[in-house]
């Protein structure tokens, strides 16, 4: 069965500390991988994507993620967080290249502690 798992529902981090948000997926086919951020009362904004090529992907706002095919993971990292990074982060996977249907994880709420 194809699924997406975000292991942490909430992650508190001190300001200027590094953070890693974890995402694992289960699939028997090749995938496209995405991270989206959602600020309160707003829609989702694309942070970064992996379609092919280099497994280390850089996105907006200083975030990056690494695709690990053997571990079926796509963890999101930032070396130093800021108060403005407080938001909900969603990992999403496209399992079927034919229709680009996205399956989202349940989200990780990142809280930055001053």
């Amino acid at each position: 069965a194809q699924s997406v798992t975000q292991l942490d529902s909430q992650v508190p981090v001190f300001e200027e500390a590094p953070v890693e948000l974890r995402c694992n997926y289960s699939s028997s086919v090749s995938v496209y991988l995405f991270w989206y951020v959602q600020y309160p009362n707003q829609g989702l904004q694309l942070l970064l994507k992996y379609l092919s090529g280099s497994t280390l992907v850089k996105g907006i706002n200083g975030f990056e993620a690494e695709f690990n095919k053997s571990q079926t993971s796509f963890h999101l990292r930032k070396p130093s967080v800021h108060i403005s990074d407080t938001a909900e982060y969603f990992c999403a996977v496209a399992f079927n290249f034919g229709n680009e249907k996205l399956t989202f994880g349940t989200g990780t709420r990142l809280t930055i502690i001053p």
Binding site: V4, Y32, F34, Y36, N41, Q42, G43, L44, Q45, L46, K49, L51, F90, A92, F97, G98, N99, E100, K101, L102, T103, F104, G105, T106, G107
Partner: protein
């Protein structure tokens, strides 16, 4: 570039009433998606259009939900009659072509009393 526009932003109705949401995608985007996001969960795809044709509606509760995309541009999603479990944020997204990232609107928050 104007983003994905959705209206209304908020809607409160009683159960068994009807409601409709509107979405105008980014100009030129052929693919349009409707998602349901229940509190504390990730978005779940309800229906996907390619131009004015349906690509995937496998998770749309067709006994009460309907959607259309006339002329391949804007779209409406309707619920009739609404149930308490339909309380959620309804997100519209669009993409230029298949394989390109999806751009999301700010959503419509629906509360059922």
């Amino acid at each position: 570039e104007a983003g994905v526009a959705q209206s209304p932003r908020y809607k409160i109705i009683e159960k068994r009433q009807s409601v409709a949401f509107w979405c105008n995608p980014i100009s030129g985007h052929a693919t349009l998606y409707w998602y349901q996001q229940i509190l504390g969960q990730g978005p779940k795809l309800l229906i996907q259009f390619q131009n004015n044709g349906v690509v995937d509606d496998s998770q749309l509760p067709k006994d009460r939900f309907s959607a259309e995309r006339l002329k391949g541009v804007d779209s409406t999603l309707k619920i009739q009659p609404a149930k308490l479990e339909d309380s959620a944020v309804y997100l519209c997204a669009s993409s230029l072509v298949l394989g390109q990232p999806q751009h999301f609107g700010d959503g419509t928050r629906l509360s059922i009393l």
